[in-house]
Every structure is written in C-alpha cells, then in structure tokens.
C-alpha cells in the first residue's frame, strides 16, 4: 500500500466517523422541499430559400412558427419553461411542468401523489401545417395535374372530360390544423381501501379531451347528375375547397382494479363523445359558383358526430409458475348527427358494434421448458340501417359497392420455449392460425327484367374469407456478458385471403445483435426482411348474353421490405459521449395495373373486359444517418451537438405507368439535413444559461419548389427558486 492509499484509507475512516450523517444531505423525512425553475427563452427563426410566405414552407409542416410581427418567415418570439416540485423527503408530492417552443408547440403536465390519492394532468398544443404542403401537390399546382386533352379539342367527352379542369374554390393556400389535447386523472390507491394496501383495490377516473381547429384542402368529383347543360358542364365536376375543421372530443374513463383471492380483475368503462362543429357543406354551397352546377343537399365530405361506449373486463391469475389471463370487451359506436339526405331517406341508425375476447395461458412449470397458448376473438357488426331506398340498397342500380355486414375472426396458437443454459439462450417455436369470415352484401344483380347492375364478387378483389397459418421461431441468446442476439423468423401460408394486401405467403426475418461493454460502449446492428406475395385473387369478365363470367385477370402483388442499421455509442473519458447511427430502409412493391373498358358497376348487363396494362414497380430507398455527441467540459459547462441526414429516393412506379406520371409524382428524391449545436453553462446551483442553434435544409429534386432551409436560434436562462 503506497502513501497515497494509506492517506486515503485514514481519511476514509475519519470522514466516515465525522461526516456519517452527511450522506443525509436530503431533507429529513417529513420536511417539505419546494423547488421552482423558470426558464425564459428567446427564439429567433429564419425560413429561407423557398417560394415565399404565400405557401407553406416544407420545414413548417411540423415546425410552424410566427413571431412578434406576425411574420412566418423571419422573426423572433419569447416562451418559457417552468418546473415546480414539492417533496417531503420520502416521495415527490407534486410536480408541475411546462415546456414551450413557441405558441404552436408547447405541452405541460401535472402530477400529485400521496399515499392514498394520485392526480395526473396534461396538456399539449401543436400546429401541423402538412395540409399546406398537400395543397402544393394539388391538381392545379403541379404540371400535369390536369389534362386538357380529355376535353379538348372535341369538347364532347362528358364521361371523363372532368380531368381537363380542376376548379379551385378555396381562395386559400395556407392550411394548418391545431390540436389542443388535455386531460386529468384521479387515482384512488389501494391504501385508501384497506390497511397497508392489502385490499389491492384501486379506482382510476380519467378525463381526456382534444380540440381540433383549422382548415384543410378538400377535393372531390361531382356525379354526372350534379351538373346540367352543355357538354362543357363536365368541366365543373372536379373541385376543391377550403374546408374548415372544428372538432372536439371528450372521453371519460373509469377503471376499477381489485385482487380478490389471488385473482386480479379489472373493469374499464369508457364514454367518448366526438362532435364536429364545422359547417357541413353540400352541393348547394358551391352551386352559385357555376351555372352548370345543380344545387342539392348532397353532402360534401360529411363528418358525423359520434358516441363510443366501451366496456372491457380483464382477469389474470398466477398459479405458481403458470399465468392465465382472460378478457372480454364490448364497444358500440353510434352516429349522432345525420345529413338531410340521410334523414329524408330514412337512414336513422349508424352503428358499429365490436366484441372481442381473449384467453391466454403461459406456464414455466417445467424447469427448462415453457408453454403458451392463446385464443383471441373479434367480431364487428355493422348494425346501421340497411337497406335504405334511394341511399344505399342492394336492389337499386349502382347503389352499392359492397357492404361489410360482419367481420368475425378467431386467432389461436401455441408456442413452446426452451431454455438452453449453455448458451444462455431461449428458443421459442410456435404456430398460430387466423380465421376471418366476413358477411358481405353485394348488389342483387339481375340479367332478367328489371335489369339490375352492380359490383359482384367476381369483379372484386375483396373476398369473404381469410385463413392463414403462421409458423415462427424466436431466439434470444446471451452467449457472453453484454452480448445479446435476438432473431425472429416467421412464415405465413394462407389458404384464403380476403384482401390482396394480405399475405398468401410471407417470410419475415428480424435480427438484432447488440453489445454493451463494461466501459460504457454500446453497439448494435439490426436487419429486418419481409416478403409478401399474393396472387390468389382475380377479376373476371362479364359476358353477354348468358351473363356467365369469362376470362380472368389475376392480380399478383409482391412486396419486399428491408431495413438495416448500425448504432454505435461510445463514452470518451468520463465527460464525452458520442453516438452514431446509420439506417437503411427499402420498400419494393410490384403489382399489376389492371384496367377495364367499363366500370364494374355496369355488369352483368354490360360486357366488362379486364386487361393487364402494366406491371409497375415501386422501389424507394431511404437512408438516415445521425451523429451526436455530448461534452461535459466541466461541472458547469456542457456542449451538445447532433447532425442528422436523411434521404429518400426512387421511382414510385415503372414502365408506362411511370412515363405517364408527372415528374413530381413519379419520382421521390429528397434530402433533409439538420445540424444542431447547444450549450449550457451553470453559473451557480440556481442559475444556468443555455443556447442553441439549428440549421435545417430540405432539398427535393423531384419538386424543387419545395426546397428551403431554416436557421433557428434559442437563448435562455434557468433560474431556480
């Protein structure tokens, strides 16, 4: 033992005896401690290099800012964070926090807790301007958004001539929606219901709500009967308008939990009310804009008020190393407001009822083997009024696509887990089956008088049944300290699929390897692969006069999704941490472009001929690279920085489909770079200064008008009381 070590040992002993109570620099039990931090912040921003404030800047979509002068491009504004905490030395009794990044992005929380009662509250305000970005992709905003050749020069095409002209009734280009979310919850803890919480009973009462305001650009096409007059009337059918958004939602939740006799039971009751307070538009609102429009009360993008009531029961119990769980839920969604047209025709009920249930058992009774089994049931009933003559009916011409009367599904499966002690691994092998059946109503077509046309199952890629089996193997291995390998493989084989997007065959592999060293270094890599194929569905022709179906055109969907990434995090000494992350994602979808000479609604009394036009390929690669670091220069000074680069590129189609598409739609080719630097300096325990600068730049080679950047500065000071 050297001199230094001896001195340290003596000092340790003396210090221990003298300062032993000093470890209790926490307040004595029962003493109330209040701390309050206020952080006023000054923000400055400058959106640059874009097409001007008359349109939404790309970087505004999730970062809407407006300064003191009302300028959305370059300005500054103030905000403040606050944090108030009250503790009694044993527990935190109360916490109130608010974090703000300007008027359009701020949130806060409130939490109070005693032995018997807990209170939780929150609020969040966020403005999204993605609608403004969507407007820039509107039909009259991009080259090739309309096609005059559909009507000119002949001027007679009243079937599809609407494609020649888009009527923008909006007089607006800026679209944004504010979402103000808030809620409060009261928890009555087990201690309130029995000595020392022995009753295990608790009651939770929650109120959650939001208010959604703003506007969106809504587009639509009117039917042939909504216009009248000369052939040019067709040019008035395709329209868009500034649609106000004014919605509110209030939800009340009661949760009761108890644990009698070793069982844990829970009941959750939810009452939710959604109200649409915005103007409900009809064709009559737009009729004055054109002499060709036929005024009517036909609704345009009607959003109904609705009420949702849910009741969920849950039960769980452990029997030694065996756990069981069961649950039952019932939800009823009711439509509360109706259009004039619905009321006129007698549509008085809009109701969706869902029932769900599950049973799970999991046992590790055997030392190295675990078994699990589950059963899950789901049923969705459409109890809305049907049929309604004049509105929705299976016996009126072209009055029904397909009606989903009922969806009923059962899923069940078993799995076995094996622990391999030598490799510290756990392997799980399992099987599950999904069996879905749908009751669908199609038009009751007739080739005998009175003739009746409509979509039939033979001319739809939507089916009634899904029956698939999934086989999977999972591996979690910890072969050495700090090293973890997770590998999941699954294969799906379906006898029937209802949607072509369902897997007829699918292979899914997820692999992740991570290593955490004793020195704090973390590194991990992952690879995900998913391939899905479905060529089980076909559209058949309708031939006259016998009305039998003829040649089939089969759809063939093939989709491959891959993702891979590497993460590396390394502390450099005690004061510097660095992180790097690289991710790659690829989505490759091939499908047939199917066309028909007539609409499927016109069969079976009109010949429908389907044709495979093309087999386009959607192939997009995305990359995200992130580099970050934190440097605690001293106890008082800290630097932090990050650089993120993300890129997406590829074609959204191929072949003749790509050739037909306008440039802004056929290609995705964009990049976002973000550089952020920040610093914090603590003058004292109670006062800290901070500042940050971030630079963002978006470039879009497919749609250069969206290019633009953002400089953002923030300086602030935290003052503690």
């Amino acid at each position: 033992m050297n001199a230094k070590s001896r001195m340290n040992a003596v000092l340790a002993g003396v210090t221990t005896l003298v300062v032993m109570p000093a470890w209790a620099d926490e307040p004595a039990e029962g003493a109330t401690e209040i701390s309050f931090d206020l952080t006023p912040k000054l923000f400055a921003f400058d959106y640059f290099n874009d097409s001007g404030s008359g349109h939404t800047h790309f970087l505004e979509r999730y970062n809407y800012q407006r300064g003191f002068d009302g300028d959305r491009r370059s300005d500054f504004y103030l905000d403040a964070d606050l944090k108030l905490t009250i503790s009694d030395g044993e527990r935190e009794l109360f916490r109130l926090e608010r974090v703000g990044y300007g008027s359009y992005n701020h949130h806060g929380s409130l939490k109070g807790s005693t032995e018997n009662i807990g209170v939780d509250g929150y609020y969040s305000f966020f403005r999204s301007a993605t609608g403004g970005l969507g407007y820039l992709y509107g039909p009259n905003q991009v080259p090739g958004g309309t096609d005059p050749s559909y009507f000119l020069p002949a001027g007679t095409n009243t079937n599809s001539g609407y494609v020649a002209q888009f009527n923008d009734d909006s007089l607006e280009s800026l679209y944004k929606i504010d979402r103000n979310t808030f809620g409060i919850g009261l928890a009555l803890k087990p201690q309130l219901f029995g000595a020392a919480g022995a009753s295990s009973t608790s009651v939770l009462l929650n109120y959650d709500a939001y208010k959604r305001d703003g506007n969106r650009f809504a587009s639509y096409v009117l039917g042939g009967s909504d216009v009248a007059g000369a052939a040019a009337r067709v040019l008035e059918r395709w329209r868009g308008f500034d649609m106000p958004v004014d919605e509110s939602m209030n939800r009340y939740t009661l949760n009761l939990t108890a644990a009698p006799g070793g069982f844990q039971i829970s009941y959750e009751g939810v009452l939710e009310k959604f109200d649409n307070d915005a103007t409900n538009y009809t064709v009559a609102n737009f009729a004055p804009l054109s002499p060709f429009l036929v005024s009517s009360n036909k609704p345009i993008h009607f959003v109904p008020d609705s009420t949702l009531m849910s009741n969920n029961f849950r039960l769980a119990r452990n029997f030694g190393s065996t756990a069981i769980s069961a649950g039952y839920g019932l939800s009823v969604l009711d439509q509360d407001s109706f259009t004039d047209r619905q009321q006129t025709f007698g549509y008085s009920d809009g109701e969706i009822k869902t029932t769900s249930a599950h049973f799970n058992i999991n046992s590790s009774a055997l030392k190295l083997v675990g078994v699990e089994a589950f059963y899950k049931y789901y049923n969705r009933d459409n109890d809305s009024t049907f049929p309604v003559a004049g509105l929705v009916s299976d016996t009126q011409d072209q009055s029904l696509g397909v009606r989903i009367d009922k969806i009923e599904s059962e899923s069940y499966g078993v799995a076995a887990s094996f622990r391999i002690a030598a490799l510290k691994s756990n392997i799980t092998a399992g099987w599950k089956r999904e069996d879905e059946q749908r009751d669908l109503t199609w038009t009751a077509v007739s080739t005998a008088a009175p003739l009746l046309n409509g979509i039939q199952p033979q001319r739809s890629l939507y089916g009634e049944n899904t029956l698939l089996d999934e086989y999977y193997v999972n591996l979690v291995a910890r072969p050495m300290p700090g090293l973890v390998l997770r590998l999941t493989t699954s294969y799906v084989d379906a006898d029937e699929t209802a949607l072509v997007t369902d897997p007829q065959n699918a292979l899914h592999v997820k692999a992740k390897l991570s290593y955490a060293a004793d020195n704090g270094m973390l590194t991990s890599g992952y690879y995900n692969y998913k391939k899905l194929d479905n060529d089980a569905s076909a559209l058949t022709n309708a031939l006259l006069p016998a009305g039998t179906d003829g040649a089939a055109s089969a759809q063939d969907v093939s989709r491959t999704q891959q993702a891979a990434g590497l993460t590396f995090s390394m502390p450099v000494g005690e004061r510097i941490t660095t992180t790097a992350n690289l991710s790659w994602m690829q989505d490759d979808l091939k499908t047939y472009f199917l066309r028909s000479d007539r609409r499927r609604f016109e069969a079976p009394n009109n010949a429908i001929t389907f044709l495979i036009q093309d087999r386009p390929d959607y192939l997009i690669d995305s990359y995200v690279f992130m580099l970050g670091g934190d440097w605690q220069v001293s106890d008082a000074l800290r630097w932090s920085g990050s650089y993120t680069y993300s890129e997406s590129s590829g074609d959204t189609a191929s072949g003749t489909t790509l050739t037909a598409l306008p440039a802004v739609n056929g290609r995705i080719d964009n990049r976002i770079s973000t550089l952020t630097v920040g610093t914090e300096y603590a003058i004292s325990e109670k006062v800290k200064f901070m500042g940050s600068y971030s630079y963002d730049y978006y470039s879009d080679h497919a749609y250069p008008q969206l290019n633009g950047g953002l400089h953002a500065f923030m300086i602030g000071a935290t003052i503690g009381f």
Binding site: F126, Y150, S160, I407, F601, S648, T652
Partner: protein, 285 residues
C-alpha cells in the same frame, strides 16, 4: 500490489461503519442489515427511489455476505422481472397496475426484456440531460428509441407522426406492458382514439380502411405524403382496376385509350372520401 484507491476507500468506509455499529450496539454485526446500513456507503443521492421502493432488501439479496466481504460478495444488481411483478402484477403495486397484468404475455417479455431494462429505480434510464437535438422528444420516446432504432429512423422521413417534435409520444399509441394476443378491440380502434373524424360510421365503407388502417398507412413514417405506405397510384392499384370509360382520355368503353398521369397521380383527389362516405358509393365525397 496496488489497490484501486477509490474502491479500497469505500471498502474501508463500510468496514469502519460496520465496526462502529458493532461497538455502538454492544454486539455482533446483524445478520440482515436494514436499508439504513446500505445508505451508509451508498449515498442516498445515488439511491433515489420512490417511497415504496425504499427498502433495499425487497429487491437486493445477499446483503449480509456483502457486509462481511464487500469486495468479493456483492448483492445482485440485475433484478429479475419476477421480483417486480410480485408487487406490480398482483395489484399490490399501485393504481395503474391494471395495465401490467398481462406483462407475462407481452412481446417485450417474450423478447427477453426485463423490467429493469426500461425502468430505473435509482436513476432514470434516460438522463435528464438530453442531446440538444432530442430536447423536444418526450422521455418515454427517448427510452424506446434506445432499442427501437429502426422505428426511430422512420420518424426522420418526410411524413411522420410528430414524435420527434414532442406532439405525440410512443406511449400515445403503444402500451409497452401489453400483449397483442391479450389486447381487446380492433386495430382501427387504436388509431381512431385520436382520429375520430375518419371513423364514421359511414354509409359506404372502404374495406381496407374499415379493417385496418395499416393497410394503407405506416404510422411511424413514410417517404410518401399522408403516411401512406406506398405512393399513389400503386397503393390503390393493388386492389382496384381503372375503368376506361370514366378515366380514359376519350371516355369510351375500350382498353386502348390512354389513361393520363393526371388521373393516375392522386386517386384521392377525386375519391376524396377514401375512408368512407355518407352519400357516394364511389367514395368521391
């Protein structure tokens, strides 16, 4: 032999305290020391724990051996989930344990994730000092991102739920303790917890929207607008044929006329009621 100075000093502290306690109590060292003994060495500031976790022995075992030989015998640091669940899955924990009652069947548990991988009793798993680029993210998002880097990467795509901006968090949509196989309700009911405007009920439904929102949308992030998994028209082409007499250049009933890019580029521009309509079987309005 050179001893690590810091550890040796701490060991001597513990030993000194043990001797001191023995002298003070006029007896031998207690076989099972209480939490107060632990705190003599392990300063309370690094031992912050919620009130009901203040008893060290409720989670850590082998403390008596540790007191006899602090350098060699150390109490267990890694806490098995079963220890946590002995309170938090039995209703003895606290009022919100109803959300943890199915943890035994959860995807996290099956993946070998322990309670202590996400929950820090003594110190939060994600530090209070976030990187400046992550300041807007909620704490639970930063925690989830430590493992789910593939998902985090999607939030950097042009269209994404504003998670990195702090407007929503992972827990807004996900229950980390829950199990898909033990969940009640359908997939769409989760999305329409916030997106009530599109849930209807609709007179005319769009089947992929009625069955599962993820048939068309990727809720984390997408290179396509509106969180669409695939850009139009490819997304819609999977299920729909295109009728020439309403979409073809001449409006005639034949498969030879051109179908313009103006039609193909944005199906929802005409079929605006793509989630369902009160009026129109073609879902145009």
């Amino acid at each position: 032999m050179k001893f690590p100075t810091y550890d040796f000093s701490r060991a001597l502290q513990c030993l000194g305290l043990a001797v001191g306690l023995a002298v003070a109590s006029h007896g031998a060292i207690a076989a099972e020391p209480g939490s107060e003994t632990c705190r003599l060495c392990h300063a309370a500031t690094s031992l912050k724990a919620p009130a009901n976790h203040s008893d060290c022995l409720s989670c850590h075992s082998g403390t008596a051996e540790h007191l006899k030989d602090p350098m060699k015998a150390k109490p267990n640091k890694a806490i098995a989930s079963e220890t946590c669940l002995s309170c938090h899955a039995s209703g003895k924990g606290h009022a919100k344990d109803a959300r943890r009652m199915n943890f035994a069947f959860s995807e996290h548990k099956k993946a070998g994730v322990q309670c202590s991988d996400c929950h820090g009793i003594h110190n939060p798993k994600v530090g209070e000092q976030a990187n400046v680029a992550d300041l807007k993210m909620n704490d639970d998002t930063r925690l989830c991102a430590t493992c789910h880097q593939d998902v985090l990467a999607r939030f950097s795509m042009p269209s994404h739920h504003p998670v990195k901006e702090g407007a929503v968090s992972c827990s807004s949509c996900h229950q980390p303790h829950d199990s898909k196989q033990a969940a009640l309700g359908g997939q769409t009911e989760r999305c329409t917890t916030c997106h009530q405007a599109v849930r209807g009920p609709h007179v005319f439904e769009h089947p992929p929207a009625a069955e599962d929102c993820s048939n068309c949308h990727d809720p984390h992030g997408s290179p396509n607008r509106r969180l669409l998994t695939v850009a139009q028209p490819m997304l819609c082409m999977q299920c729909h044929s295109i009728a020439s007499n309403r979409h073809g250049q001449a409006g005639a009933a034949n498969n030879t006329q051109a179908i313009s890019g103006a039609v193909l580029r944005d199906c929802a521009s005409c079929h605006g009621a793509v989630h369902g309509s009160s009026t129109d079987q073609h879902l145009r309005h």
